[in-house]
Symmetry: C2
Subunit: 345 residues, 2 copies
DNA sequence: GCATCATAGACAAACGTTTATCTTGACGTC
DNA sequence: GACGTCAAGATAAACGTTTGTCTATGATGC
């Protein structure tokens, strides 16, 4: 296809005033017509003329001028650590669906967890008169002066609504599944201490295990330490357990990546997943499905988390009351890496 | 940590006027001080007073009012099909790095390839006075009236700069690698006809193969048809080739996902990757590294593509001339799924 | 034939800035 | 003492809208 003609230095943007001048009308009248303002008597004939002229000149009202005196900007500010990795982008995607549907635009900023950037961007967004702030995995120091909803925010802040994964439910699903398959000797992985929701997850795991009468043995607990996103994360711990001849029939991993590492360690020890040992992941990353054996895991409904957060934020902006905290239930995804524990010891 | 105090109905935003009134000065003077306007004589004492008051009231200049008369809004509009999947988010991430660094903010819109939405959002962004448009994997019908850079845009448009992967280079890297390993009978996968850059890739592959003296045999060519993102995409074609007893030592897959499917088919046929057949992917998705055997692949430097596009866009906005098309070189990532062809036939 | 009323539209203020130009008083110079 | 200069700041216009109020003009009522 040949390039189209029109240049992109573009027809200069036409203002209400120019349009009015051309029509021999006042800007006000033109504005009334274009906005279908009520309580104004303007004959259909004039309306036609105005609309045609607007069409002809490709008139676009200046959103800036508009929002200068009307309060509404229909703009949201988003704060997140990094764009492009799976987690944050998916949450943002879910939120974006809602924003677009409700005719809000949003500006995204990323700060790589730098405190001063978080503060700076918050201010800059505010000075652009955003109506609300969506904070994803971001540590806010003070409550912003605009309605705010935080996803996976750490500390509770006055007036800031938190949307978080229901870790209790996650633990129930994971342990419940293993329990039903007959597993009683389960190895546990505990997330790195610096990891954002590592603590709440571990607490929920301990709590649920106790309720179900499952033992969380210290000598079957692996504490992750390395700061990596490769399966190498889960390999050494499980390998060591196997070398020490600890007895267990399943391992509850911190996430899918470490579950893949765990699988490899089991495989390398000459054992089979899931026949000898079941492996349970967390997150449901795309690789969880592709891996062999595909991973049974707990899915975090990231898009849903995003859309719930966005919905709550819009409600707040409209002045409605919303809860301080909203928990989102995860889902159990059963695949190949877990199986019924074998009768034969 | 206990919740902080301050409420988020927030201290009402303070305007220049209010500030000026409080100080007993005119708004203009306050503006001069706060902007360090040159050629204005204002005693240091007054400057101090002004700055202190601004601090005290947490004054934030209204970006909106500012950009109403100055032309600059320092805002970019982004058009993409979908937020949250790997490809687009990574490109956006790379672009965002540049935008943030250069103090531009951006609004992201997604259109799921709906033509009318593309047009509508372009207009809306324009009416918000964006200074430039970044179009990612989006089919633009007409050149927008603002400087525009397109990533993986399909048709060339007058004045729109295109940033694309250098498919020729990609083919050279892939085929060169296989060639060096001794492969001469290679099976090819051709992308679905509806896939965006399927055509240019195939053309480059044919061209490069010819140059290297490699044969692209019709009976070793698999045309993908299913519209799926699961490995199932690559499985049946390769399986069929094996069943038909076609002889080949390597398969050049359309992407990593289909490469995983291909691997499985080979495995299921009782053959080994890479000992019997080498498998080459494309994209370098995260799973490529985790899979067993990990995939040799051609990496699309997505973040780089994004940052190059953003850089070009900013240059255009500054009024500099930039090329109509910019090709980004891919990278060969050698892992376990390819090996030297075995001597023994 | 005059008051009343609806119509069709103009006028002007306001939103929060920036910036060019003007004012005022103090001081210095010859 | 007339004049110019400079400092310190005020005024006002402008950016592109929206919206409350005002004004002509003609039509209607009695």
């Amino acid at each position: 296809m040949p390039p189209r003609s029109s240049s992109n230095t573009g027809p200069k943007l036409v203002s209400l005033k120019t349009l009015a001048e051309y029509l021999g009308l006042s800007a006000a009248t033109v504005s009334f017509v274009l906005n279908d303002a009520p309580n104004r008597s303007i004959p259909e004939k004039t309306r036609q003329r105005v609309r045609e002229a607007a069409q002809k000149f490709g008139y676009q009202p200046s959103h800036i001028a508009r929002s200068l005196q009307g309060k509404r900007t229909h703009t949201i500010g988003v704060l997140l650590p990094e764009l492009g990795d799976g987690y944050h982008s998916q949450v943002l995607g879910g939120a974006a669906d809602v924003f677009m549907r409700e005719k809000y635009f949003f500006m995204t900023t990323h700060h790589r967890h730098k405190k001063d950037l978080v503060a700076e961007y918050t201010q800059l967004l505010l000075s652009r008169r955003i109506e609300g702030l969506l904070s994803i995995d971001t540590h806010l120091e003070v409550p912003p002066t605009a309605p705010t909803v935080a996803v996976a925010g750490h500390s509770p802040l006055a007036g800031v609504t938190n949307v978080v994964l229901d870790h209790e439910r996650a633990a129930e699903l994971a342990l419940g599944h293993l329990y039903e398959l007959g597993h009683r000797k389960i190895a546990f992985m505990r997330g790195q201490l610096f990891s954002s929701d590592s603590r709440s997850r571990w607490r929920a795991t301990l709590h649920t295990a106790r309720e179900m009468g499952l033992e969380v043995a210290a000598d079957l607990t692996i504490l992750l330490e390395r700061d990596t996103h490769s399966p190498e994360l889960g390999y050494p711990g499980v390998k060591q357990l196997l070398e020490l001849k600890r007895k267990f029939t399943a391992v509850l991993c911190f996430n899918d990546v470490s579950a893949i590492g765990a699988s490899r360690a089991i495989h390398d020890a000459g054992l089979s997943v899931p026949n000898d040992i079941s492996v349970m992941g967390f997150d449901d990353i795309p690789a969880a499905e592709f891996y062999t054996p595909s991973l049974t895991t707990i899915r975090q409904p990231l898009r849903e988390i995003g859309s719930v957060a966005a919905t709550l934020l819009l409600k707040k902006i409209e002045g409605m009351k919303v809860p301080e905290v909203k928990r989102i239930a995860p889902e159990l995804v059963v695949r190949e890496s877990t199986a019924r524990v074998r009768k034969s010891k």
